[in-house]
């Protein structure tokens, strides 16, 4: 099943009431997979992944003392935006302003599992120095 369909299936019970879009990107905001119920959310989906990358990293690496950052949920008047760290990817779930936050977190957990499957399929970056062939 295509990734977009898997993401849509995860959101299906709440489309039109709570969930408006989900997107999996890398830390620079490059889209890996995207499902959205409306085209009005493009500005959010472009801007927020990179914002999360900066502040999640700050919350994790700083002296906050609360360990690694797992997710940030920002609740605005018209939208709630949940962002989950699935290093090296970021899951973003956009819900309506009136959406049930618990539903957003539950949907986020489902999309997180899809993102984890992608991460496992990614080749591990080899940082070892290659031996000189000569």
């Amino acid at each position: 099943m295509p990734l977009e369909k898997l993401m849509e299936a995860a959101c299906k019970p709440y489309i039109g009431t709570d969930i408006e879009a989900t997107i999996i990107t890398d830390k620079d905001g490059i889209v890996v997979s995207k499902w959205t119920s409306t085209s009005n959310l493009d500005a959010i989906l472009e801007r927020f992944p990179s914002t999360f990358a900066v502040y999640s990293n700050q919350a994790s690496a700083s002296k906050l003392g609360l360990g690694r950052n797992r997710h940030i949920l920002s609740a605005y008047e018209a939208h709630q935006i949940l962002q989950i760290d699935v290093a090296p990817l970021i899951v973003t779930v956009v819900g309506t302003g009136e959406a049930n936050t618990g539903i957003l977190l539950e949907t986020g957990a489902k999309i997180e599992k899809i993102a984890q499957a992608i991460v496992q399929a990614l080749p591990q970056q080899d940082t070892r120095t290659q031996p000189n062939p000569t």
Binding site: A43, L66, I72, A75, Y76, A78
Partner: protein, 143 residues
């Protein structure tokens, strides 16, 4: 006149059970009153919480401006921006940080890993309701 000592006592009322810190600060992260284990801890939470708040607030503004420019119309659906950020929840492995605005200030609660999100939000909203009126009166002098 606003008495910081009284505000600290009010903040101390929520730092029970799984809530480890309650902090009232201005938008640049300077402390106004707090209830936390140490001064250092409160200063750190305040600085980082204010920074995250400013970043997300700015991101919301950018999105709203872009949406209005693109659609050439004011659309309620795109109202992510200015003054519209209500709450931020930062969930980490060893605790949760909640941030919400009161007047021109920010209120931050920190819960330990055993804390339930529902009780944290309830305490945050109760504090916000309790403090918003008196803080509104001094907001014109603030920061």
């Amino acid at each position: 006149m606003l008495k910081p000592k009284v505000i600290s006592q009010v903040l101390a009322q929520v730092t029970t059970g799984t809530v480890t810190a309650a902090i009232l600060m201005n938008s640049s992260g300077s402390l106004l009153a707090f209830s936390a284990a140490t001064d250092e801890e409160a200063t750190t939470y305040a600085a980082i919480a204010a920074n995250i708040w400013t970043g997300y607030s700015r991101a919301g503004d950018t999105v709203a401006e872009k949406a209005i420019t693109t659609n050439n119309a004011y659309n309620k659906h795109d109202l992510v921006g200015k003054g519209q950020l209500n709450t931020i929840i930062v969930d980490c492995e060893n605790g949760t940080l909640l941030i919400t605005p009161i007047s021109h200030m920010l209120l931050c609660l920190v819960g330990n890993p055993e804390s339930n999100l529902g009780i944290l939000i309830a305490k945050l909203q109760a504090l916000r309701r309790h403090l918003s009126d008196p803080l509104e009166k001094v907001s014109e002098y603030s920061f």
